[in-house]
């Protein structure tokens, strides 16, 4: 019994010990979930169909799309004016405007004024605060 419980950790491979144990625990827990929730898992297709049917696809996928575009453009735009944070400012204004318009339900011109004002003021204020006051790096 004493030998069975004794463990020697080899320093060279010590980085793999804990991840392996956690991996095994996850596999065992996953198996237990699979067994105890087999009926639920068997009907997972219906669950996901329901999720996608109820989803506002335009707003959900639009948010993801705009966010990916925003993240992708920030650095290339910022590289045109390095160390100024202008990449953040130039990309944030249209991003805030477009997501605001995307989230709106009533897009009559008069109703969009607060969104336009926010899109201009908020990124400018944040850009000034972080670059001029806090001296933090922005793209």
């Amino acid at each position: 019994m004493g030998d069975l419980t004794q463990v020697t950790i080899d320093f060279e491979t010590s980085h793999l010990v804990f991840p392996t144990i956690i991996g095994i625990m996850l596999a065992l827990l996953g198996l237990a979930i699979l067994i105890t929730r087999r009926h639920e898992i068997a009907h997972a297709g219906a669950h996901w169909r329901g999720v996608f049917d109820r989803m506002d696809k335009v707003r959900f996928l639009g948010t993801i799309g705009l966010t990916v575009l925003y993240f992708s453009l920030m650095v290339p735009v910022g590289n045109v004016w390095p160390n100024t944070g202008l990449g953040f400012l130039i990309c944030s204004i249209p991003y805030v405007l477009l997501t605001g318009l995307l989230f709106m339900h009533d897009r009559r011109p008069r109703k969009t004024i607060p969104v336009v004002v926010t899109a201009l003021v908020a990124p400018t204020l944040v850009w000034w605060l972080f670059t001029d006051l806090f001296f933090l790096t922005l793209p």
Binding site: Q6, V7, P19, V51, T67, G100, H105, V126
Partner: protein, 500 residues
């Protein structure tokens, strides 16, 4: 540095400002105290530790308290911890007693906050003094206990524990750090991504993604429902409130605050559990349980005292053991990390000024919350009408700032934010639990160090059982939480299978 040197006008202004912003966040359905802390975290970079904590603690207290506004006026909990506030608060509002209900809730919140603060002040140093004696073995078992408690109190124990272990697994991605006694080797990193993942995923982008972006994605999925018009906000007559409503409610208030504080001390258990437990206890001990759910002030008091009781309680394990009591205090770990301070048993002893400043900040935050909400409740009530299409884009932008500036300008951290924002949305759909995941993610690297060092020192697995009486007590607690959860789940199943 003397304590009074820390209490500057800026320090006080940050507490009051943080409380104000927190109340606004809490009052808007879909926005939480956790989100408020996540979004404002980057502002603490240049503030220093005490001033940064002043802001974040104000946000925490305000965010939890603000949830009562939509819960009472619209029947929609502003934060998950306000669920039971809707049970009696909303019926009161429908009877034209909206303002009275709000003021009752505000007073009860204040009492809950102050009682939990007293518990924090008394228990955290004592627990920290005790925890200093812990070796790696006991420290590892404490983390294991935290994970099993979280699993046991989740909707499904298996899914809760799985979420916790998944958090640990993801936290291990990257280098086994030499500064932690590791060998400096990389693991769990897919080929080709070593450049980005060598240091693993940074904590704060993960937190901001899970609590900021994921919440907005959920709202987007639901079509970002329009805010409520001013006509739907029914406050009623301001004259109907009187402090006499609290006559005979001292036991209820103290018991509910105590329950909230105790639930807060349990790692990873959210405010919703605190308010539900406090509410159900108040109903059990009430002389008129039949009136609960129909606008009974007693129920409203229990709910609000319970959820604000959480605020001090959740800081007890954080400041004494380094284990967050809930998701918002998990974010506070981020604030400490930013300033290079490690929370754990030595924190209070080594940083008495910071400790005192935190307690002071919590007292001021509670007073500020009470003063601004009690006297300006008519204005705060209008916050529920603020359009989300104006607020959400700003929050998204602040999330980006937070992620980008955390490591002084690494774009991969911004992509981490998106990855974990999507992951946070998916977790809910898969019925996994976010709180155990995040606590596993935060504590994973420490768990690894404690586990490996224990084995390197003793070379025997039995050491986890035989090291000390504390280890044995912890095993009893671990077994108790698992057995308790299994019994609770069976009881629930039997109850649902029985015909009505």
């Amino acid at each position: 540095m003397e304590f009074f040197d820390l209490v500057t006008p800026l320090f006080l202004a940050l507490i009051v400002g943080g409380t104000f912003v927190g109340v606004v966040f809490g009052a808007i359905p879909g926005m939480t105290a956790t989100m408020a802390v996540a979004v404002c975290l980057p502002l603490t970079y240049s503030l220093g530790l005490e001033n940064g904590l002043a802001l974040l603690l104000g946000l925490y207290v305000g965010g939890i308290s603000g949830g009562l506004v939509p819960a009472i006026l619209l029947g929609i909990p502003g934060t998950p911890s306000s669920i039971t506030t809707t049970f009696d608060g909303y019926p009161m509002s429908q009877k034209g007693e909206g303002e009275k209900a709000l003021r009752i809730g505000i007073c009860a919140s204040f009492v809950g906050g102050i009682i939990s603060l007293a518990a924090l002040y008394l228990f955290a140093p004592a627990l920290a003094d005790f925890a200093i004696r812990f070796s790696y073995v006991e420290k590892f078992l404490i983390i294991l206990f935290a994970l099993t408690v979280m699993g046991a109190l989740s909707n499904s124990m298996l899914l809760g524990i799985f979420s916790g272990f998944l958090g640990i697994f993801i936290s291990l991605i990257g280098v086994y750090d030499i500064s932690d006694g590791g060998n400096g080797e990389i693991r769990l990193v897919p080929p080709g991504t070593e450049y980005w993942l060598e240091g693993g995923f940074a904590l704060l982008p993960v937190l901001i993604g899970l609590f900021g972006l994921a919440a907005i994605l959920e709202e987007a999925e639901r079509g970002v429902p329009e805010g409520h018009s001013a006509d739907t906000v029914k406050l009623g007559k301001s004259s109907s409130f009187s402090f006499s409503v609290f006559r005979g409610q001292l036991v209820n208030l103290v018991r509910s605050s105590g329950i909230g504080t105790f639930v807060g001390i349990l790692p990873g258990v959210g405010g919703s559990a605190a308010s539900i437990l406090a509410y159900s206890n108040a109903k059990t001990f009430s002389k008129k349980p039949e009136s609960f759910g129909n606008g009974e002030p007693e129920g409203l008091m229990a709910s609000e005292a319970g959820n604000n009781g959480l605020t001090g309680g959740a800081l007890v394990p954080l400041l004494s053991l380094g284990i967050p009591g809930d998701s918002t205090t998990a974010l506070l770990i981020g604030a400490f990390t930013l300033q290079g301070i490690q929370v754990g048993p030595l924190f209070i002893g080594n940083n008495p000024e910071t400790w005192n400043a935190m307690i002071f900040a919590m007292v001021i935050a509670n007073i500020a919350m009470f003063a601004m909400m009690y006297f300006a409740i008519r204005y705060f009530a209008m916050v529920v009408t603020v359009p989300k299409h104006v607020l959400f884009p700003i929050i998204l932008m602040m999330c980006v700032i937070g992620a980008y500036t955390i490591n002084y300008g690494i774009m991969f951290d911004v992509w981490t934010l998106l990855i974990f924002g999507l992951f946070g949305w998916l977790v809910v759909k898969l019925r996994l639990e976010v709180a155990p995941f995040i606590i596993g993610f935060i504590l994973g690297p420490s768990a690894e160090v404690y586990f490996i060092k224990s084995l390197e020192s003793f070379g025997d697995l039995t050491i986890f059982f035989t090291k000390s009486w504390i280890a044995m007590v912890l095993w009893v607690l671990i077994a108790g939480s698992v057995i308790g959860s299994v019994m609770l789940s069976r009881k629930r199943r039997t109850a649902t299978e029985q015909p009505a």
